[in-house]
């Protein structure tokens, strides 16, 4: 409820929708710039390799942040529980990477639900 009150003080009605429009335009702008740049980039393999590395690093940074430094509900789970569940899911995954994505996902998700039930 406190969060709700804060929101109504600062951002409500039109302000919220203006933020949404700005966020949507910004997100589409990034996609469109990518299309524009990709027209001229196909032959430059060095830039291609560098950009792939940057993208993978960015995605890794996002993922590790969601796991190690989450906001909201996930922050109530101890760090070691989050890491242990990730390690177990990766263990299922690497035992046979070709077929085990869904079993690995289920393992991790159900363990997290299980933790939520018993805590």
């Amino acid at each position: 409820m406190e969060a709700l009150n804060q929101m109504s003080e600062s951002l409500s009605g039109w302000g919220l929708w203006i933020a949404l429009v700005g966020a949507c335009l910004g997100t589409y702008f990034c996609r469109a710039i990518g299309v524009f740049l990709s027209q001229s980039i196909n032959q430059e393999s060095e830039i291609f390799r560098w950009l792939a590395a940057v993208t993978y690093a960015m995605v890794a940074a996002l993922t590790i942040r969601l796991i190690v430094m989450p906001l909201g509900l996930m922050a109530t789970v101890p760090l070691w529980v989050r890491i242990l569940i990730c390690a177990l899911a990766i263990g299922v995954m690497v035992s046979n990477p070709a077929k085990r994505l869904v079993p690995a996902l289920l393992t991790g998700t159900l363990l997290m639900v299980g933790y939520g039930v018993i805590r």
Binding site: L20, C30, V35, L37, Q39, F48, W50, A61, T63, P97
Partner: protein, 261 residues
Amino acid sequence: MSSSEQPYIDPSEIPLSEAAVQRFKNPRDAFWSGIRDAAGAPAAVLFAGMVGFGAMGKTNGFDVWFTTSTSFFMFALPGQVVLLEMAITGSSALAIALAVTLTSTRFVTMTVTLFPQFHQSNRNRSLYASVHLLAMTAWAISMREFQAIEARHRLSYFVGLGLLCWLISVPATILGFYLAGMVPPAVTLGLVFINPLFFLLTFTEVKPWINRIALFLGCIFGPIFFIVDRDTSLLTSGLVAGTIAYYIDRKFLRKKAGVLG
């Protein structure tokens, strides 16, 4: 362009094995194959992620139209989460738009690495519409599958893949919005966890060493830059970790035959 000194060439020029050349008969075949590939784990994961997001919108006091609009018009879960969190904590509309745009900068590099792999005849203005379907799920699958798909069928495959992911995200958000409060917190916990877990699991499928190093360094620099400055941390950690990985690859790995693959 494919000179012997350049180990990495335009991906659309990579010669394909016999099986890959004959994988699809026509664009429609490729399109439906994309739909089928999306309809398994990726759609389930995205669906769960969007249900979690819908639940987050409901529990934080947003209305169903606002919550669902973000899924339809942004279709970028991390950016959507940032939008909600900053709106809750009372940031200005301008700050929110800037922060969300920064989290979306990954789309620039995703597009630039994926779209040159389309056949030249497909690379026209219609890509400005197709690019809205690009998100991390479709990108990760396409990067893996494109090696085994003929260049002229890659766009159809990608559109099938992305379209299904985009279309399911809207009903999933609405479902999550109305489910919130009905399911126990333990279930919500599982839903929130499924997105980062899926991203983490796909990392184990990354083969080139340069990208593995980039992933590893991204995991190290991500939290460090997050502490330094939250809003720009994705961009800075990506640039720093990616550039170091590229440098390591260029200076050391390429000289060793076999490591390069």
